[in-house]
């Protein structure tokens, strides 16, 4: 059994190759990244328009919402950049490329993760980072090492959660081709929902996104702790600090489901 360090080194090489390949088309990369920056930024225009009209959102200010928005978008952008392999999994299965992956002496998850490091996603990441930076400045957040660490953990946990969703979507393509868009409700829908503080939503919705797809645990709860704002829903502070772990648990669970799918996979040949 190869070690985890070996796997990471291999992943690093995959990413290096992918980066160099993409940078061959330098102007295309810039065009795509700037385009993505603008396009995902349009999402925030909607938020701005609503705040311009209504002034406040149930006691939350624009800067606070922007804080949530930035964190969620950065986490999603990273996950999106890492998940091309899982995104295209349906195609890989159908034309037999996945069979080739299974024949290689490394885990298919590793190969799928290393499929591409889509740096054009940096457009969304940059846009999220810019809005977050503005929000942090506007709120005058009191930065301590602990809070910065929690922020990093939040983003990484959020990335893990979204990656888990992409893995689940790939697992679905073992059984269906046309219904994959359901998972978009949770990925893109999740990003849209989590860019607002989850407190504004109905109870059933909040429960689902805390305990089933723990979006609240990688966005709402830890960000409250980073901002130093008390939770109107009354969650304990220790829970807010530990919440990002839920993202990793979710990813681990979805990888288990994926491996189950692989084990029961019967190729249709190519």
């Amino acid at each position: 059994m190869r070690s985890a360090r070996d796997a990471l080194a291999l992943l690093g090489r995959f990413f290096g190759i992918s980066l160099r390949a993409q940078m061959q088309y330098r102007s295309s990369f810039w065009l795509q990244s700037v385009g993505q920056f603008l396009i995902t930024g349009i999402d925030f225009l909607g938020v701005l328009a609503l705040f311009d009209r209504f002034g406040a959102l149930e006691g939350w200010t624009l800067a606070e919402v922007a804080f949530f928005y930035g964190v969620v978008n950065v986490a999603f952008a990273v996950a999106d950049g890492l998940s091309t392999g899982f995104d295209q999994f349906g195609v890989l299965v159908r034309n037999g490329d996945f069979d080739r992956m299974l024949l290689r002496p490394r885990s298919p998850v590793l190969q799928l993760a290393g499929h591409e490091l889509a740096i054009r996603r940096v457009g969304r990441l940059a846009q999220g980072a810019v809005i977050f930076a503005w929000a942090a400045w506007a709120l005058g957040t009191d930065w301590t090492w602990a809070r910065a660490g929690l922020l990093a953990a939040t983003v990484i946990g959020g990335t893990a959660l979204f990656l888990g969703l992409f893995v689940l979507q790939a697992t679905l393509s073992f059984w269906t081709v046309e219904s994959l868009e359901v998972v978009n409700s949770f990925t893109y829908g999740g990003v849209y929902a989590a860019q607002y503080p989850l407190a504004i939503y109905r109870l059933a919705f909040r429960r689902f996104f805390t305990f089933v797809v723990p979006l609240a645990c990688v966005a709402y709860l830890p960000v409250l702790a980073v901002m130093g704002r008390p939770d109107p829903l009354g969650s304990p502070v220790w829970a807010q600090w530990l919440a990002p772990l839920a993202g990793f648990v979710f990813l681990a669970a979805s990888l288990v489901v994926f491996r189950l799918g692989v084990r029961h996979y019967t190729s249709t040949g190519s």
Binding site: I42, G46, L50, F54, A56, S179, E181, V182, G189
Partner: protein, 278 residues
Amino acid sequence: MSAVPSAAGGYLALLSTRYRALLQYRAAAAAGAFTQFFFGFVILMVLEAFYRSSATTPPLAWPAVATYVWLGQAFFALLPWNHDLEIEAQIRRGDVAVELLRPVDLYALWLVRIVALRTARASLRALPIAVGAGLVMPAAGLGEWALGPPASAASAAVWVLAVVLAVALGGALTTLVHVSLLWTLSGEGMSRVMPAVVTLFSGMVVPLPLFPAWSQPILRALPFRGLVDVPNRIYAGDIPVAQAWTELALVVAWTAALVWAGRALLRRGLRRLVVQGG
């Protein structure tokens, strides 16, 4: 000579074939309906939270907002937020030369094709969402969030016309994009810009009346509101029937302008077309 009837027959056949092909993908339609429901709920919850915090009376009453959002979700498949990748591939590969050999007008062919694609998809997805948001939700006690009935019979009739015109407008927009592919070849730029611009300025992201007052003249000047905003507001009665005719005339004018531009551009493009083999 039956040139005109046979040409029309050709387009009708294309329409029906597309329809039947898409009806095969029922599972996709179900998945799509679920996604639309989800997004509809999230958008409404966000808007409701804003409405609760509102100090002044918003320009659109709440029942109208819910109807607006659900209509938008139900007919989302009609929205020209993407272009036909197959046509993009045809142009890139040079297969568009084969299309030119057919005894049909290329612009009309592309227009009918995209209209057929969108109406077929929409007719599959609109019904479950309309039933769910219009009938099931009130029955489940979520009446205030439901898709309400049209403001009046006259509103409903004008709304149907508005939807037809919206389809035509969307088709004209997309066909213009397809024609532009003759120059740009790669649809990459378009597939990035179109979704964002169209969804934002048509009213899918935030209902247009809720945008700040200073932006309303800009929104009124753009063609995209005819796609979602105008039909939805006619249905809800926010645009009274008397005023609706002016709005619809504007939609027709935009469609005509886009068709004219598309045809002119296509003529110019085909004259200078260089097919790089294939």
